[in-house]
């Protein structure tokens, strides 16, 4: 992967596309949700192609369903690969979760079992997609609202095994780490310690809301102080990495998103220099 600077930016929502093109604010790169552009044509895709002439693009996906027993849909993989090629994307990311069951697409990120028996199918699916993509694949930790009684591995151990066997990278969503920790009664810092930290290439940040007794990863609010603290902790432990702000529901004006990215940038710039890390 072409090395990205450890700077902060935003994940594009179509509502902001025209404004971004017209104003071209100084952003180091932009994440795009590939699933919203799979037509690979039309006014929105034309806008995206224009955007890619001005900003490096990272593609974020929700449809590979790596946790399914079946391989990822070839048509979906082909379209994402084509998009990555046409936009000159730097990487493709998706979640450690399940979004298709028995060939039915669910449009959600359902939790998978963290069990040694799940590893082979996951590795097969990840390798198949990585081979089809022209750019590196990164796997993101999902938000979990429940666990399974027979989970035998921590999320970090699962990720470590997958990284070792497939060579993929990791997208660490700090908000997901916080939400999962709260919902499952786990310590986020301890969860982070289990991760293959050298494989973490990217951070996500987002807002959540409470639905007692749980937290919901709704991407509907500004990042809360606790998630900023966890982000600062991750930077201290792992090092500064490129960071993306996600916001989907109750989408604010573009400047509000950019302000959140600037806040993240301040944390990145304040990070201590770790051995082997350039900040």
């Amino acid at each position: 992967m072409r090395a990205l600077p450890p700077h902060a930016s935003i994940s594009l929502r179509e509502t902001h596309l025209a404004q971004l093109l017209a104003q071209r604010p100084p952003l180091p790169f932009i994440e795009v949700v590939a699933d919203n552009f799979l037509a690979l044509r039309g006014p929105h895709y034309a806008g995206l192609r224009q955007l890619s002439e001005h900003y490096p693009i990272l593609l974020h996906c929700v449809g590979f369903s790596f946790g399914s027993a079946q391989p990822p849909a070839p048509d979906y993989t082909r379209k994402v690969a084509t998009m990555a090629q046409e936009l000159g994307a730097l990487n493709v990311t998706d979640h450690l979760s399940l979004s298709a069951l028995n060939d039915e697409f669910i449009h959600d990120l359902l939790p998978i079992r963290y069990h040694p028996d799940s590893l082979q199918a996951l590795c097969d699916n990840l390798s198949r997609v990585q081979e089809a993509l022209p750019v590196p694949l990164l796997l993101e930790n999902p938000s979990r609202y429940l666990a399974y009684a027979d989970d035998e591995m921590s999320e970090g151990n699962m990720m470590t095994k997958l990284v070792q066997r497939t060579g993929i990278g990791v997208l660490m969503d700090i908000n997901n780490l916080y939400v999962t920790g709260h919902n499952l009664g786990l310590c986020p810092q301890a969860m982070l310690a289990d991760y293959p930290q050298e494989a973490i290439d990217l951070y996500h940040l987002a807002g959540h809301h409470a639905q007692p007794p749980l937290l919901v990863d709704s991407h509907s609010a500004a990042i809360c102080p606790e998630v900023w603290q966890l982000y600062e902790y991750a930077i201290t432990q792992i090092g500064p990495r490129p960071t993306i702000i996600e916001w989907d529901n109750q989408l604010p004006p573009l400047p509000t998103l950019i302000e959140q990215a600037q806040l993240a940038q301040a944390y990145l710039q304040a990070a201590p220099v770790l051995d082997g890390t350039t900040s």
């Binding site: 037509a39 895709y45 449009h107 959600d108 429940l146 009684a149």
Partner: protein, 259 residues
């Protein structure tokens, strides 16, 4: 509505969901997953019919949307979530009253769905002029074209373009006056995807005749007059190569309809 996918998982026992110290946690978790999927679907349908929402208003449109999403089956592609809204509305007890209040509503729903299909249509290889020419001189099965799956034809006695312009202006705060709608002569429009946009145009009778012929071609009825609009149809991309196998959902898209 499709069964809840979480029911595919064993929810209790050794391979079930892990018990939580808070008994409310599991029920809340399941409701979050359920609401996530429902919310995404409602949003997808809502994005398909923005002008209908503007016309009916949120207090009427949102509950209707909720009921539709609850009852209709979930398509593979999220952008097809609103495909059956008109059909579903017609079958509802309140449907006749709604269509009596807004007699142009079926036409508006078709118009919005046609544009939505065109907006989200995939790329298709255009039909080749040369292969079409060859086929026309020596017809055989199958012809080298098929109608673009996202080409929609719709007709109405209502001034749809004016209705759409007014509703768009209202939604953008550029107009405050309501709609004054009168029936007139029946007109026919085509809505189709272009490479970088969508397009709409009134259909001429000759174009309409040719489109009807092209759908199930009958070589015996072929006449030069019938085929005179063909170059324009090809130029607009209304015919695509039959050998294009890329789109997965083309059957769902066969939206060419006359009302």
């Amino acid at each position: 509505m499709n069964p809840d996918p979480l029911r595919h998982f064993r929810q209790f026992g050794a391979q079930g969901f892990a018990p939580s110290a808070d008994p409310a946690a599991l029920a809340t978790a399941l409701s979050i997953y359920h609401n996530n999927r429902l919310g995404i679907r409602r949003r997808a349908v809502s994005l398909s019919y923005p002008l209908t929402e503007q016309l009916l208003g949120k207090p009427l449109f949102r509950p209707m949307l909720k009921a539709f999403c609850h009852q209709a089956s979930m398509p593979h592609a999220l952008e097809h979530s609103g495909a059956g809204l008109l059909h579903w509305l017609r079958a509802q007890p309140q449907g006749p009253a709604l269509f009596a209040d807004y007699p142009f509503l079926p036409s508006l729903l078709r118009w919005e769905w046609a544009h939505h299909l065109a907006y989200h249509s995939e790329r298709y290889d255009p039909a080749s002029h040369e292969r079409c020419d060859l086929w026309l001189r020596h017809p055989s099965e199958p012809p080298p074209w098929r109608l673009h799956p996202a080409l929609s034809v719709l007709s109405s006695r209502y001034p749809l373009a004016a209705i759409v312009a007014r509703l768009t202006a209202l939604s953008q705060g550029r107009a405050t006056e309501g709609l004054a709608i009168e029936r007139g002569d029946r007109r026919c429009w085509a809505v189709w995807p272009t490479l970088d946009n969508t397009a709409v145009a009134q259909l001429t009778p000759a174009q309409r005749r040719l489109l009807r012929w092209l759908k199930p071609p009958q070589p015996a009825s072929l006449t030069p007059e019938l085929f005179s609009p063909l170059p324009q149809l090809l130029k607009r991309g209304w015919l695509v190569a039959r050998n294009d196998s890329a789109p997965v959902l083309r059957d769902l898209h066969s939206s060419l309809f006359f009302s």
